[in-house]
């Protein structure tokens, strides 16, 4: 999407003006409505949530972006979930505090059969992808890529620590070029000096496994600080420098 100076703010209850919506090259292609937008027949589009209206002209999609605290699941999202209990066929997991449980089939892992099903205990942390979301059914997760059958890094997260961040921050961290597109430079700077593994869940959870607990804590706290303080790249550099000095790797 080309840069646009106008980033329209939309508010629930008011129709979104036709001039803001993308004009498809092919008039037969329908407009797709993403999160936070609804269609009111016959031809009005209104926002259901306050935020910035984002438009993808190529895909002909509109959606509303905002940084809400509670994550709303969407198919294809990567999430970090906690195992609550195991049943005959599936695990019951939780992706947000107090929210309805989600399902993960025992066979939704790489290279498993009925005889080699994974053993996940209550409290285990799982990195998974959202497979299906339906308001009338329970959300289902998978721990492998359905098209290749490979795990692609999904599965149980052993060791490490979980940190809470805002869903908006996790979206930024998961961008393909998180530095150029998301304005996150700290990971690249820290990776030059430290060894750590990191998994980002769009549900606002961040899992980090550093070589020591101290390093894990330091990285997690730094990312939370960037999230809360809306630090720019320059401030992130300073923060990373201070952090590395504190743990003696500066």
């Amino acid at each position: 999407m080309a840069s646009s100076t106008a980033k329209p703010f939309v508010f629930p209850g008011l129709p979104i003006s036709q001039s803001l919506l993308p004009i498809p090259a092919d008039p037969k292609r329908s407009l797709k409505l993403g999160a936070g937008v609804q269609h009111v027949p016959p031809s009005t589009i209104t926002a259901t949530s306050p935020g910035i209206l984002r438009i993808d002209d190529k895909k002909n999609v509109v959606w509303v972006e905002n940084n809400h605290r509670r994550y709303v699941s969407y198919p294809g999202d990567l999430v970090i979930a906690t195992v609550l209990r195991s049943a005959a066929e599936q695990f019951f997991l939780q992706i947000c505090p107090h929210s309805p449980t989600v399902l993960l089939n025992h066979l939704s892992f790489e290279n498993v059969s009925r005889k080699t099903r994974p053993q996940l205990n209550t409290g285990a942390t799982v990195y998974a992808r959202v497979l299906s979301v339906d308001k009338h059914l329970e959300t289902e997760l998978v721990c492998f890529n359905p098209s290749t059958g490979k795990a692609d890094g999904l599965g149980e997260l052993k060791g490490g620590m979980l940190f809470d961040i805002s869903p908006g921050m996790s979206r930024r961290l998961l961008l393909q070029k998180s530095k150029e597109q998301g304005g996150i430079a700290i990971l690249d700077i820290l990776a030059e000096k430290l060894n750590f593994e990191l998994a980002v869940g769009l549900n606002g959870r961040l899992w980090i496994d550093g070589s020591t607990v101290r390093e894990t804590m330091a990285i997690g706290k730094a990312i939370q600080e960037i999230d809360q303080g809306a630090l720019d790249i320059e401030k992130q550099r300073k923060l990373a420098g201070r952090l590395l000095r504190e743990i003696g790797k500066g």
């Binding site: 629930p12 209850g13 008011l14 949530s49 910035i52 905002n66 605290r69 509670r70 309805p100 308001k135």
Partner: protein, 243 residues
């Protein structure tokens, strides 16, 4: 009476807000969609649970009465059909309320304290706008009083409320629909219509008189500006990035 608003005051709630107006202060928190208890579960829509807590003592009949009115009003703006079999929990804690009964010499239990209602409703509305719950609309609520001499006063002080002949609480949605009217006292149809017009001006801006728009910003405009500022802050990292 001017009001002041603080958004996201509670770190763990999905949406929260402190709404203060004069001597009234309300802390609102919204959580949802959450897992619902079996007995409260609705198959086609979300259950809305409103809890009003007084500044002192236990919640009683008056708080139940407020809860009923707030529930009815919020149900009209929340898209409950989007989250079937879930719970949306709304807690409204009154942190400060004027000690009107002590001055009036009435027993505390007997007063309905209707003038607290707009603060409760506005706090709930702003907290909802901070949460991720889908809304079909937004509203703003205000209190209007009718004096014995027939004068209509918007945003009255506590002293004025005490001497009022009747008190009216109104809530208007953004397109200008009236979604809540609650009146107390004696009044006639003409003065009531006058109250409606004054209330609509308070909530939506002066529609009849465009000559003096700067005098007082409508509640809706103020709410919108607050939420816009909040969104712009969380999106501020985007400023130097060409996405």
């Amino acid at each position: 009476m001017a009001h002041s608003v603080e958004l996201d005051v509670l770190p763990d709630a999905d949406g929260s807000c402190r709404f203060s107006m004069g001597a009234i202060s309300v802390l609102a928190s919204i959580n949802g969609p959450l897992e619902v208890q079996r007995r409260d579960e609705l198959p086609e829509e979300a259950t809305i649970d409103v809890a009003v807590r007084p500044s002192a003592g236990l919640a009683g009949i008056r708080e139940r009465f407020f809860e009923g009115l707030i529930h009815k009003t919020l149900k009209q703006v929340i898209k409950t059909k989007q989250f079937p079999r879930t719970l949306i929990q709304i807690t409204l804690q009154i942190t400060a309320s004027p000690d009107i009964d002590a001055i009036a010499g009435r027993p505390h239990q007997a007063a309905s304290l209707l003038y607290l209602l707009p603060s409760l409703l506005n706090a709930a509305m702003l907290a909802l706008l901070c949460s991720s719950i889908a809304l079909s609309n937004t509203f703003a609520s205000t209190v209007i009083i009718l004096m014995p001499n027939g004068e209509i006063i918007s945003a009255p002080s506590i002293q004025q409320i005490q001497t009022a002949k009747s008190i009216h609480v109104l809530a208007y949605t953004l397109p200008g629909d009236l979604i809540l009217v609650e009146s107390e006292g004696s009044f006639d149809i003409h003065s009531w219509e006058g109250c409606l017009i004054t209330g609509k001006d308070q909530c939506l801006g002066n529609l009849s008189d465009n000559s003096n728009p700067a005098s007082a910003k409508a509640l809706h405009t103020q709410f919108r500006e607050l939420i816009e500022a909040r969104t712009m802050h969380s999106e501020s990292w985007r400023q130097n990035i060409d996405v």
